[in-house]
Symmetry: D2
Subunit: 424 residues, 4 copies
Amino acid sequence: MSPAADLITGLADRMPELTAVYEDLHEHPELSFQEERTAALVAARLTEAGFDVTTGVGGTGVVGVLRNGDGASVLLRADMDALPVREIESVPYRSTATAVNPDGDTVPVMHACGHDTHVTALLGAAAQLAARREHWSGTVLAVFQPAEEIGEGARAMLDDGFLDRFPRYDVALGQHITSAPSEHLYALPGVFMAAADSLRVTVFGRGGHGSMPQATVDPIVIAASIVLRLQTIVSREIAATDVAVVTVGAIRAGAKENVIPAEAELKLNIRTFDPAVRERVLTAVERIVKAEAAAAGAPKEPEIAPINDFPLLVNDEEATRKVISAFTETFGEANVHDTSRKPGSEDFGCFGTAAGVPSVFWNFGGFDPALYPDGPARPQPAVAAGTAPGNHSPEFVPTGTEPTLRRATEAMLTAAAVWLGRAG
Amino acid sequence: MSPAADLITGLADRMPELTAVYEDLHEHPELSFQEERTAALVAARLTEAGFDVTTGVGGTGVVGVLRNGDGASVLLRADMDALPVREIESVPYRSTATAVNPDGDTVPVMHACGHDTHVTALLGAAAQLAARREHWSGTVLAVFQPAEEIGEGARAMLDDGFLDRFPRYDVALGQHITSAPSEHLYALPGVFMAAADSLRVTVFGRGGHGSMPQATVDPIVIAASIVLRLQTIVSREIAATDVAVVTVGAIRAGAKENVIPAEAELKLNIRTFDPAVRERVLTAVERIVKAEAAAAGAPKEPEIAPINDFPLLVNDEEATRKVISAFTETFGEANVHDTSRKPGSEDFGCFGTAAGVPSVFWNFGGFDPALYPDGPARPQPAVAAGTAPGNHSPEFVPTGTEPTLRRATEAMLTAAAVWLGRAG
Amino acid sequence: MSPAADLITGLADRMPELTAVYEDLHEHPELSFQEERTAALVAARLTEAGFDVTTGVGGTGVVGVLRNGDGASVLLRADMDALPVREIESVPYRSTATAVNPDGDTVPVMHACGHDTHVTALLGAAAQLAARREHWSGTVLAVFQPAEEIGEGARAMLDDGFLDRFPRYDVALGQHITSAPSEHLYALPGVFMAAADSLRVTVFGRGGHGSMPQATVDPIVIAASIVLRLQTIVSREIAATDVAVVTVGAIRAGAKENVIPAEAELKLNIRTFDPAVRERVLTAVERIVKAEAAAAGAPKEPEIAPINDFPLLVNDEEATRKVISAFTETFGEANVHDTSRKPGSEDFGCFGTAAGVPSVFWNFGGFDPALYPDGPARPQPAVAAGTAPGNHSPEFVPTGTEPTLRRATEAMLTAAAVWLGRAG
Amino acid sequence: MSPAADLITGLADRMPELTAVYEDLHEHPELSFQEERTAALVAARLTEAGFDVTTGVGGTGVVGVLRNGDGASVLLRADMDALPVREIESVPYRSTATAVNPDGDTVPVMHACGHDTHVTALLGAAAQLAARREHWSGTVLAVFQPAEEIGEGARAMLDDGFLDRFPRYDVALGQHITSAPSEHLYALPGVFMAAADSLRVTVFGRGGHGSMPQATVDPIVIAASIVLRLQTIVSREIAATDVAVVTVGAIRAGAKENVIPAEAELKLNIRTFDPAVRERVLTAVERIVKAEAAAAGAPKEPEIAPINDFPLLVNDEEATRKVISAFTETFGEANVHDTSRKPGSEDFGCFGTAAGVPSVFWNFGGFDPALYPDGPARPQPAVAAGTAPGNHSPEFVPTGTEPTLRRATEAMLTAAAVWLGRAG
């Protein structure tokens, strides 16, 4: 029996309980840095499993430590936060939660990025590691991080003395659900996920009566022009063989139909894999935003302020090849796939970078294989109805819950076993 | 002494009190159908003056009746509601009020359309009429209407049995502050203010992760395209010599920069003076909204729903000429001006139409004459800094408070005297 | 018999010949300042009728003078040039002509503005005046002007010594076909037609391979952005009750699909009735053009150069009322209509302005009444198929040729008789 | 001495003559299928060198065959056509040529894609092969192809019986100049250049007078909307890690500023590396074009017609590695670079595909190394002034003529020697 198989043994019996945990988490999502209920649930379960638990790390973060003799020390990480998205009706445990966001607005909340599966799988892996501790040796840090969505949670934990307060580790391991068939895993050595920059653009016009636009400078027309003109950055200014994404994720201006407002706000999100490309995109955003305001004769230049940023996520080449190899051995070649670089972003890499150790991040699928007519190796979500949704969509509700959670737990155990099993 | 002069006598002494009332109202604006505090203030003052007062008419409306012998019956109307606009800092009695709007959002509130001046002037006129009742005879209905901004207040009062519960009237008189020099009056027989149609457009895309637009249909891009393409209705589809305004007063989509939302909402306001033009604009709005969604491959057609509508405001030709003549006699030719049709809208006309009697509506200026370099006859607000703001602007704070309120009160008394003074 | 009726007598017999002249002109249209064939035809017919003829006035202009005793002197004017439009197939005398325009391009040519009807009607009126000279006295100047479409013909004739070389006149009369029912006439005292400014905008990008936009600055994207943003001038910057038209009549960039060109050219046409509005539009055009180039990071500012301009056309109030009165007497009230100001432009007014005499300009209809379901008083061309085309359309082929030409000739004679008949 | 070095010996003496040939070709560019002068020059020189020459193959194509004993048969190909681009003034041999394009328009012509360097280098290689025939054995086909720019020349030659009329070959070799330092070479096994689809889009509006847009459907506004909305295909509908380019290379509508035209024409060029991406782009183009016309109420759907198309260019893996290896041996590692897939397109691959033999295509640089501050390995042309231009730019005039031509000739000989030298 392989070290991974040793750790996985008995997981099947644990699945009903893990599924219940998952559905509870899914029904009670919490926004970034508001993960109080989730953290309490996590802390209780880790404690119950025998971990040494610290809460309130970097805000709402939870760290569980399990020392089990000599050997490597492995950091396993899950992120806990959800998103301001209103979930569609598709499952009994649908979220109807709301929360007050940092702007003071009450918004719907949903685990539209599947962090509930990450938490559940890491709780499952922690329970297995505790239950099967005679089959490995070393130290495990189970890290439940807040606020990944805003790129601040990992840094908040590190800034809160993480490296000093907890055991040093030899490798950091993390995973993310993706729109792909359940039970399938995806990994890539090297640059894996994009750098991200989020910006808040405030456009200043001059408000007035909706019937007298001539006495105003209409900020909604400026904002609309900016949105359309920003499309030309990717379509015209970046080489087709380079990678960049420029998304306007939010736009907001005005309250009443017959009042032309004085301002409009846009929230932008930019993804790049290359510093030169990133620089060109940021320069172009500023140029376009200013020029479109000038085109309207705006009384004041727009303001462009950072909201947050994510570094590139780079998988350690050697460590990642080891994990892929273990996955292939445990799950079979048909279930493990090379993948391409992802334009999404992650702050997981901070745990490796800060400690100067390798980090490995992979994806696992979470949906009915029938949704992917092109097969598991090219499992892109598509636009047409009845097809698989992408992360952050209000339809991002995993359809193969049990196999998804089981495989995610197995994957975490299998990757951990690469380091922990050796010493066993 | 003219009948108007008789009614005006003594007003000067009342101005400090009226100015205080105005500043109090300005500092405590209330949204449509929420005018509780304003209505209470109005009711108390009318009662004090000797009017027979009814509150809660059509929601928060107040009607004061003063019977003073035989003669004509005159309806004098002021509207009470304010707007969800955040006032700039310019006066000590600046509003910092907020309120919860019908969407459940907390919004700033400001008397950005100057209804506080209308209420104050009508309270002043009512007080004068009560104090000077030996100088006229007839009946006065002082009507303080809620919810003019959303085109529902006049209808709500009429639907609440207005015509049956209160004395019949021979004429309806109303006025509105405008961006023009204080002490100047503006009137036009015939079609005076536009029909207005407000629409809520909901655009449906497909939400998803901000880094994977290919798995989404981005509703913000659709909304931006709609905003820009709607500009072509006025610029290309309506004859230059016809009149139409198409304003997008509000746009809202998304909450987080890295989530592409599933929907976007636009609020439109349309002004026209001609049914054929109105029909063409509405047809074009629908055509453009649907086509721009189709251009993006939207999974569902946009929804276009009415928010509210206003009828044309038509001043009775004969009655209006009488009022203009009285204004000219009382205030001198230099202070009374012909004006052009206004693209703004009003539901005041409903009081005339419903009762089958003439109605007359006029404008009064409210700003420092120095702000109008083209003179009082063409007092258009301009875009440049330091110039006069237009209605609904966050800067719409009358600068000549005392003369503005005095002239507005005098104007209401002068117009009333055309009917009341005769019988005296 | 009225003076007008005297002059009209016998016109019916002349109609087959005039119709033949018209069809010949229609089939052989010529561009501005290239009206050689037309001028030769005109000169021959005027000479034949007994006029004293001068050709080559201001390029290709023709002036015929008929002295007939004492009395008023009347200038009657027709314009001769056609447009670079490809005529649709609808009549046997359809134009298939081409010409080389000033840019050196070979373009189709069509009388899409109906100047062929103007020439024909003035030739008909001239023939009648010559034939019926015992019924009037005075002097007639029949002026056939080149290059009205580019706003240069009238000035070219005046600059060529017109006022010195030909008899002084007491009034200038002119007419234009419009999209309205044949036999109907339309006039307006005061400001009648708009000022026009035409501009050439050259946008500079950086050319390159179509597959490498990142190495270019795409001038076609800049030009498209300008076109869309220009729409906001009329929709947002000009009061709805003011009048402005901003049209991009031509756009040209690139030759090959896989080469991003270095430049793009736009031709703009602007119509206004008010100097302040004109100024605001021109300022906004410049602001938008420059800002949209800046938004793209263009290496060089766009160039904006004038192509031509037209002054306002103002009908003398008193003289116009006389003409309307004569029209009503001759053709009946049902065939003579007040009309609104037209956003089109004309250089006819220069003949009045230069001589310091009144000028009167009116419109006549040229199409089947069935095309105007709203009746002759509101005969707007519409967009739907099978409806009446507007001037400059490739479908602008008069459908009621004989009544159109007859009424236009009668109208010119009737207006002339107001001055010539008096002295008779 | 390597086989390559054997063939190169003596080339230095030939360079003045080759440079003169190049400058002559550069000064006399010809459009696709009009390469009469070029073909005559080529035929004369090939004949002079001792090749067996056939002209008029596939229109203006020229094939020279040199049989030199047993051994492999190698096809060497150069393309001859130029582009409708107006050359900037930078060299004495600048082109001022014009030609009539297939639309009947007279256009400037320039070797803006550097095919003149291809022709020159292949003439140089042919001369060397003829002069040095004792140093190799086998058969050489020197193919000078017309009309590469429109993707038709290779097929035209093949359709003209190429495979039957000339000796079979074992490999096809070709090269293209690129914006990179002179003397540097770039190659990539596998997919190297994009599939290209060119489309002509004709938008139908309704023409009319520039002052009466309400009677028209303005095709220029539709075309501008299409241009902007097409940008969203790459920015929103294609994954950032996939490759697509959508370029509008030409736009044309209207002739006169005050006439709204009835139609507008766009020429599109699309580049993709993947059939699924290609399909999605083409579908999106059609959807956007139709919807934008519908948004304007266009009377007729736009027409979308193919102009031309190019297949993917796929370099044979094994043959390409051999060529790269030979280049490295001959020119040193510092001068030979891996490169990325190019979004440009080529029909060269047809010669390999049609004969069922491997084909190899590579790039050579043509500019002063100082223009590439990032070094020869990442030699991207940039937008800033004074930097290296991209292909198809009016500034695409090689700056290092002599080294550029020498290295291109050497490269062709070196690649040929891989096959010809063996048998030597």
